[in-house]
């Protein structure tokens, strides 16, 4: 489909009437190039999409030429393609390229020196645009850095690959489930005048029919295209449905007797019956079916519902043609709950049928190879229906008791940990433990004998304490606010806060690219680094401005906030200067013009 480059055969015309010069038209995201087949011709073109303002195309028609007209400011470039699909391809590509180059703007295409051609698919571009639309912060950053000419698109998105991938993969994982309505049971449209009845068939309906009626799917695989065409097949199928809808069993039997293929649709689904029998065999034999015998209504004719007319007088030959609506509903529900087993959504009927058949074969094969399940079932049966006197007594299954020692959880390796604490080395206790206890006891007895000191606290000491407390409280009140959970950012006006945050994110982005460009090996990295450095030195004074614009009492807090940003920038600048010096020293430039 569309990819980063489009190469098509085309004729270049300067006007519509012009016979045109044959050649090859090659389009990339930024420019298109036309090379005429005749090398001596002067009609070479190399035009950037930046200059193309719009495009026009001629109408589709069997006799008309497929023209695409690219319009820059003046004049136009007209290309004639061999067929309309080529022209459509080129037109879509041109549309995307023109919008993209319009968004990016001039400066990037001049300054950016890409390492290789930008290979972008249109899906990728859509994803990027969508991401930018969703995340306003990202968009601001993108506008500031990419459109401001500091970074190029590739560099910007190179670090965000994860974002783009995640979006794409998330879309792919979810699949649309099956519809819960039985769409193939819809009544056909009939016009009252003629005797014709019209059925509509969509791929979704075909998928449902094949999933629910394996006999029909088998018949399709067998009959089409050997015995009949697809159209005939479906006509017969709808005829059978129509007969069923009339509930005329006798007529159905009569038609089935005539037409063999029709009989396949009219009879009950044999494949389904065998599947059900297989499932029943796999049920755990120790399941007590007797218990809900009373609830079992499936054996009662009509599923327990009162039916209008019980045709008991029907002969045996009509039995296979009876079908119950409830069976259809149950089957439909079972299929919907199972969900989509195959991924083929579009494509012709044959592929759908084959895909369903193959998935079923895979399932059968898995079950057949899974002989273990059978053995497990037998084991379980013997375990549950034990006949004690016929079997040797077996030990009850036990697992060894394993209780973890809670001490491990709370204070494991405490000695190790405490040895690493920084404080322990400094403060070794002077006394041993028993001596320490003794001294503690001595202190307590001292109080008992001496009593509490009088006064408890001297007045000047108390005064000093009061002063220091008051100072502490009043100074911290304005700085921190009443709530210790508040942060300084919230007290700033919102404009300042957003500016600070934007600066922070852009500094992080710039520094990321800055540090990843070292060591400088190519000239591209060199220009990139100098660009980044210019951008960073522009942000520096802006931060100073913010610091000064804030009120004086929160200035200290704000400068604390801004401090790490400035430090990071300073480190980057210092590194840059160092590298510059090394470079100039290496290139042999001696100071003072010595040679």
């Amino acid at each position: 489909m569309t990819d980063a480059q489009v190469v098509k055969r085309a004729k270049y015309k300067s006007s519509v009437k012009d016979p045109g010069v044959r050649g090859i038209l090659k389009m990339t995201r930024e420019r298109f190039v036309f090379m005429p087949n005749d090398p001596s011709s002067a009609m070479k073109l190399n035009v950037e999409f930046r200059l193309i303002k719009g495009h026009k195309s001629s109408k589709e028609g069997s006799n008309r030429p497929a023209l695409l007209n690219l319009t820059p400011d003046q004049g136009n470039y007209i290309f004639e393609f061999e067929n309309f699909s080529d022209r459509e391809l080129c037109r879509d590509f041109v549309a995307k390229a023109v919008t993209f180059s319009g968004e990016v703007g001039g400066p990037t295409s001049e300054k950016a020196v890409p390492l290789k051609d930008e290979q972008l698919s249109s899906a990728e571009m859509e994803r990027r645009i969508k991401l930018l639309q969703e995340d306003s912060e990202l968009q601001k950053l993108h506008k500031q850095l990419v459109i401001g000419g500091v970074l190029s698109e590739t560099e910007f998105w190179a670090t965000r690959k994860k974002l783009l991938d995640v979006n794409a993969s998330r879309k792919a994982k979810q699949r649309v489930g099956l519809k819960s309505e039985m769409i193939f049971n819809v009544k056909p449209s009939s016009d009252g005048q003629s005797n014709r009845v019209t059925f509509n068939l969509t791929p979704e309906m075909i998928h449902q029919i094949f999933a629910e009626k394996p006999a029909v799917q088998q018949a399709y695989l067998n009959f089409v295209p050997n015995k009949m065409t697809e159209k005939d097949f479906w006509t017969k199928y709808w005829r059978a449905q129509y007969l069923h809808s009339t509930k005329n069993i006798v007529a159905a039997a009569a038609e089935a007797a005539e037409d063999e293929e029709l009989a396949v649709f009219l009879k009950q689904d044999a494949i389904l019956a065998s599947e059900t029998r297989r499932k029943i065999r796999k049920v755990d034999p120790t399941l007590d079916m007797e218990a809900d015998e009373g609830d079992d209504y499936t054996h009662i004719p009509g599923h327990g519902l009162a039916s209008e007319d019980i045709k008991d007088e029907l002969e045996a030959q009509y039995e296979p043609y009876k079908r119950s609506f409830l069976q259809d509903i149950n089957r439909h529900a079972a299929v919907v709950l199972e969900g989509r087993t195959i991924d083929v959504e579009t494509g012709d009927t044959r592929s759908v049928a084959e895909a369903l058949a193959s998935s079923k074969r895979v399932e059968l094969a898995k079950e057949a190879s899974d002989g273990n399940a059978h053995q497990e079932r037998l084991d379980r049966v013997t375990r549950m229906a034990e006949i004690e006197d016929l079997q040797a007594p077996c030990d009850p299954p036990v697992a060894p008791l394993c209780i973890k020692d809670p001490r491990d959880y709370f204070d494991s390796q405490q000695v190790n940990a405490l040895n690493q604490l920084p404080g322990t080395r400094q403060m070794k206790s002077v006394l041993s433990t028993s001596e320490a206890y003794g001294s503690l006891r001595a202190y307590i007895s001292e109080i008992r004998t001496v009593g509490l000191s009088d006064p408890i606290v001297r007045p000047e000491v108390a005064f000093k304490v009061f002063n220091s407390l008051t100072q502490n409280i009043s100074s911290s009140k304005y700085q921190l606010g009443k709530n210790p959970h508040e942060s300084i950012l919230d007290t700033l006006p919102s404009v300042t806060k957003e500016e600070l945050l934007l600066h922070w994110t852009s500094i992080q982005e710039l520094l990321k690219h800055f540090w990843s460009s070292y060591p400088i090996t190519t000239s591209y990295l060199y220009t990139k680094v100098s660009r980044l450095r210019d951008a960073m030195s522009q942000i520096y004074p802006k931060l100073q401005e913010i610091k000064e614009s804030v009120q004086s009492d929160s200035r200290h807090q704000v400068s604390l906030l801004v401090q790490p940003m400035l430090q990071a920038l300073d480190a980057a600048f210092a590194h840059y200067e160092l590298e510059q010096q090394k470079r100039s020293a290496k290139s042999g430039e001696k100071p003072n013009g010595y040679v």
Partner: protein
């Protein structure tokens, strides 16, 4: 601070509250159950780590410290007739209730306390088995916090009228990183019961655990500079009851040290690995979480194949 929830007058404690409280399950945090504004129950956790008090890290002698604390307790009991004080001693190997103001003769409070404290120290020494330890151990703060919270819970369930409880932690020893988990659990349960934990740190270093405790539960953290005026600090800051705190300005710490300690080595770490099931913290990459047993890094495909097997009947 949760003190705002406590400012209800006595009128409101009437018929409505009674019926509500009868049927409330005990797990929900209880609020506004006191019968007067400023009746308080003060649980004091005294640090009686002998290694700390006999080392150079102790800025004042234990007897001076104890005398100031006792005077403070007396003044608390003088503030309101219904005030209650409970003292728990935090020893090196054990903790115990040392004084209860609601029992015993009122004219012999100090003697009772000192007597019991002495007995406690003797008992603690007996429990000291491995005494070739030449470092300052940490006292069992987690144990005394748990004991205080248990007592407070009993008070909550004692009836409709009871004082507002708060915990005052007079601590000097260092944080034992091995107690991190237990202390954090007690802090969270105190937060849930809306019991503020005040901390008064006597030692030379700040205590990260107590900073976190006071920050999370809405209490006051203070490291007094002048320890001979400790009594003044206590009465000015820690004597305030919870109702008054809504209109009093109390000192706030500048920052809180939020570092955790890892579960495997009990080191204090800044960055580490966290189990997404039980939120245990590890300092290095493990294959399995040692707390909840969940394995890390399971590939996605193994889960889906086991689902498919279960679908077949």
């Amino acid at each position: 601070m949760n003190a705002k929830g406590f400012c209800h007058t006595t009128d409101k404690i009437g018929s409505t509250r009674k019926s509500v409280l009868k049927h409330k399950p005990s797990m929900t945090p209880v609020s506004s159950k006191q019968y007067a504004d400023d009746v308080s129950l003060l649980m004091v956790l005294l640090d009686t780590n002998p290694l700390f008090w006999s080392s150079t890290a102790a800025p004042l002698s234990f007897s001076k410290f104890l005398s100031q604390v006792i005077s403070f307790l007396n003044s608390i009991l003088l503030l309101n007739q219904l005030n209650q004080v409970m003292v728990i001693a935090t020893g090196l190997n054990s903790c115990d209730y040392v004084y209860d103001s609601s029992s015993g003769p009122t004219n012999q409070r100090v003697e009772t306390l000192l007597q019991k404290l002495q007995e406690f120290v003797v008992k603690d020494e007996e429990l000291n088995k491995d005494d070739s330890v030449d470092r300052i151990g940490s006292s069992l703060l987690s144990g005394s916090l748990s004991m205080a919270l248990c007592y407070i819970q009993r008070v909550f369930r004692s009836g409709l009228l009871h004082p507002q409880p708060r915990i005052l932690c007079m601590h000097g020893s260092q944080d034992g990183p091995g107690q991190y988990v237990a202390i954090m659990n007690s802090i969270f349960s105190a937060q849930r019961s809306m019991v503020p934990i005040d901390s008064c740190v006597i030692g030379s270093q700040h205590s990260a655990f107590l900073q976190q405790a006071s920050y999370i539960t809405g209490g006051v953290y203070l490291k007094p500079q002048q320890l001979d005026g400790l009594f003044q600090y206590l009465t000015t800051v820690f004597g305030t009851d919870l109702h008054s705190r809504s209109f009093l300005q109390l000192p706030k710490p500048v920052g809180v040290d939020f570092r955790a300690s890892c579960f495997c080595h009990k080191n204090t770490i800044d960055m580490g690995y966290i189990c997404s099931v039980c939120l245990s913290i590890f300092c290095k990459h493990h294959k399995k979480c040692s707390t909840c047993g969940s394995a890390f890094g399971q590939p996605q495909t193994s889960v889906s194949t086991s689902n498919q097997k279960r679908k077949a009947p």
